[in-house]
């Protein structure tokens, strides 16, 4: 078999997969993927909640950004008011961080209330409504950030530390590592995905939501309040967008930078389409897109051995900036390719994006 590793290109492929298996077992590639996929998955859950009930939401990006800022500010204010606090034994949680998460969720819900009002009550164009939210989010957070100039930080949540014997289990150990070496918001994603998947397809609420997303008039005829349901779902979607924002400033980073969402809200939209408007599918899309970024981090911190490693380090030595930026661009490139390959076979809810009018003049 050894000769296969020496063939150019084919050898690279073999070495790459050998490296992958090794990296999953020995480095933190798997937990890193899950962590990076968290805001995408949460944003995608927000998208699923919205679009399943017939509301297009391209303002997830802006909702995340506002939530990230308000969560960070709330946590900072509380931590400065309370002084040093002994963090809780699990996740290193402090009152400041918890209040920050709550503030992020509340602000996410507030912004989505605006979106619900515009798209359900005002019957404004939903793409425009989302764009407005994105533009206001960039402006408002940039303005307040410049005005307040926050210094210091409330810190971040810690990752859970699973026992070694669990992680070292053969074959499945990396899975435990992936799902347990995670912060609280990252861990919550899995729970939300499963709950939402079950509720959407196995509960009365889910049936009604899907009915409203496919044929609101029929749903209205059988006595479902289309407006109330859409409002409720869009606002619950804001909870997820808010959590995604909290992840940015309270779990993954410990500070706020302008525009730090970096188009994650739009990758989330692609994940929704990729996942065919199901929570589990969207979660899979988020993992797929962000795996490339985690892999980039792993390759740079722990380059693969053999010819592949020599090849990569050669590129890195000649084109250091291109090398780094290639890995930075990888999630976006992958999203674009997958979107183009998948979207034609993925059918959105029939009433997605269409405002509902109760009475028509005909």
């Amino acid at each position: 078999m050894d000769f296969l590793f020496q063939l150019p290109l084919l050898g690279f492929v073999f070495q790459f997969f050998a490296y992958l298996i090794d990296a999953i077992a020995t480095t933190n590639l798997a937990p890193q993927t899950l962590a990076l996929a968290t805001p995408i998955a949460l944003g995608a859950l927000c998208g699923v909640m919205n679009e399943r009930s017939g509301v297009v939401n391209i303002g997830i990006e802006g909702m995340m950004l506002i939530a990230a800022f308000s969560g960070f500010m709330a946590a900072l204010i509380v931590s400065e008011a309370m002084g040093p606090v002994e963090p809780a034994p699990i996740f290193g949680a402090t009152p400041a961080l918890v209040i920050g998460v709550i503030a992020a969720i509340v602000s996410g819900m507030t912004v989505s209330l605006l979106h619900a009002w515009l798209s359900v009550s005002v019957r404004a164009n939903q793409i425009i409504s989302g764009t407005v939210i994105n533009i206001i989010a960039v402006g408002l957070t940039g303005y307040l950030n410049r005005l307040i100039k926050p210094t210091g930080s409330a810190g971040t949540f810690d990752s859970f530390d699973p026992p070694d014997w669990l992680v070292d289990l053969p074959v499945v150990g990396w899975l435990f590592n992936m799902f347990l070496s995670a912060g609280p918001i990252t861990m919550s994603v899995i729970v939300f995905v499963v709950i939402l998947q079950v509720l959407l397809f196995r509960s009365r609420w889910g049936l009604r939501t899907r009915a409203v997303g496919e044929h609101p008039r029929a749903a209205d005829t059988v006595g479902i309040n289309v407006f109330a349901l859409r409002y409720r779902n869009v606002i619950i979607g804001g909870v997820f967008a808010g959590l995604a924002g909290a992840w940015l400033t309270l779990e993954y980073n410990s500070s706020f930078q302008n525009n730090m969402t970096a188009n994650r809200g739009f990758i989330a939209l692609a994940a929704v389409i990729f996942g065919r408007w199901t929570p589990i599918g969207a979660f899979g899309g988020a993992l797929l897109f962000m795996f490339s970024e985690a892999l980039g981090i792993a390759i740079r911190s722990n380059p693969p051995p053999g010819d592949l490693g020599v090849f990569l380090s050669g590129i890195q030595a000649t084109y250091p900036s291109l090398y780094n930026n290639f890995f930075g661009a990888l999630p976006y490139l992958l999203t674009l390719i997958v979107l183009a390959g998948v979207v034609g076979r993925s059918i959105p809810p029939a009433a997605d994006g269409l405002p509902y009018e109760k009475e028509r003049a005909t």
Partner: protein, 391 residues
């Protein structure tokens, strides 16, 4: 004619006024944060210094916190500030057209940012290559290269949408990020020149846009202004324009009438990219080089311009002038009133918010004129979301 124009413009104008009111609330709130006391005059002072920065006309003097009315025009300052306003307006006209023409075809081009970057980058490389040729040739080569770069970068999402159904809202955003990453890498590793303290490409030399008047009244202003009537003619007086608008209003009708939505999508997106690429070209050819980190918001502002201008070339011209004036005047506002320049981004967003809630604004202000039919194209944008294939 005039009545029709008024019917189109009344809600945007009302939205601007309402947004300025909302902005003044934010400015008052900012005075609480910075000084600890409520300064009710601050919005007036801030807006006045914004206006003064954009036009050179001042009508207030602030002396030890007391504000008095005092009309003054400094001719030299007015000329300089107005030139800056026009210079800031011209790329916004182009990015506004880049979004507005897309709207007319039922396409939402949020990829202005990426197309601006690619256009500017191509212009910088071409300009550096022909830096020693005579000025007219060098400028022409650089401008054409920049426009083509942008058009190419608009072609990609157009082709993706036409052949795979990938909605341009997501694909163009991904392309924005891609362009930013790739260009930073290329400038740092391949095109960086030795000498300057930061990474940048070589000087464009003779390809720099000639200054026609004032300190920064460059040739690109004429290019941008000329494209307004040209675009109007294209959209409203040619067959292609008719096809574009029909596809936007009703893709099925366009298909049944024998037009090819697929061809029109690709063509329109390339055209949008061309406009945005030219905007980037103006920015870079006035700067003289391409810096590795080129943070520009003109692509994004194009969305505001197009929506505020109702996707009509003339409307876009006026909307770009408003935003250009705000951008040119904002630094003066930050210096004189201490209000961060970012407030203009908030005001832009709030203008759009009121525009989106047009029905509410009409009811609130008892505006009776008939609503213009500019909504159909935007509905097409929403309907195709999620992947309706163009056959």
């Amino acid at each position: 004619m005039l009545r029709k124009a008024w019917a189109l413009a009344v809600v945007p104008l009302a939205s601007i006024v309402l947004a300025l009111l909302v902005g003044s609330i934010l400015i008052i709130a900012s005075s609480v944060i910075t000084t600890g006391s409520i300064d009710l005059m601050l919005p007036i002072v801030a807006y006045e210094s914004l206006f003064e920065g954009a036009t050179g006309i001042s009508f207030l003097t602030v002396d030890n916190g007391s504000v008095s009315f005092d009309f003054a025009i400094d001719g030299e300052r007015a000329a300089r500030n107005l030139t800056s306003t026009i210079a800031a307006t011209s790329p916004l006209i182009l990015t506004g057209l880049a979004v507005g023409v897309g709207f007319q075809a039922g396409l939402f081009n949020i990829g202005g940012t990426g197309q601006v970057l690619i256009g500017g980058f191509f212009a910088a490389l071409a300009g550096a290559a022909v830096a020693d040729l005579p000025v007219p040739i060098a400028v022409a080569v650089a401008v054409v290269a920049g426009g083509l770069g942008g058009a190419l970068y608009g072609f990609i999402p157009g082709a993706l949408k036409a052949f795979t159904g990938a909605h341009e809202v997501v694909s163009t955003i991904m392309l924005n990020s891609l362009a930013a990453f790739v260009i930073v890498g290329l400038v740092n590793d391949v095109f960086k020149i030795v000498g300057p303290s930061f990474a940048r490409t070589a000087d464009v030399g003779n390809a720099a846009l000639p200054i026609l008047f004032g300190r920064n009244g460059h040739l690109g202003i004429l290019v941008a202004l000329a494209l307004v009537p040209i675009t109007w003619f294209l959209l409203y007086k040619t067959t292609l324009g008719f096809e574009i608008r029909t596809t936007g209003a009703n893709p099925s009708a366009a298909r049944y009438a024998g037009m090819s939505p697929r061809r029109l999508i690709i063509l329109t997106m390339s055209l949008c990219g061309l406009f945005a690429g030219l905007a980037g070209t103006l920015e870079i050819l006035t700067l003289g080089y391409y810096p590795a980190v080129f943070g520009t918001t003109i692509g994004f502002a194009g969305i505001t311009v197009a929506l505020l201008g109702r996707s009509h070339p003339v409307g876009i011209l006026f909307a770009a002038l408003l935003l250009g004036a705000m951008r040119a005047g904002a630094p003066n506002m930050q210096i004189q009133a201490g209000v961060p320049v970012e407030i203009i981004d908030v005001i832009q967003g709030v203008i759009l918010l009121f525009l989106a809630a047009e029905v509410v604004v009409r009811r609130l202000l008892r505006i009776k004129t008939a609503a213009p039919g500019a909504v159909a194209e935007l509905d097409t944008v929403t309907k195709t979301y999620g992947g309706e294939r163009a056959a």
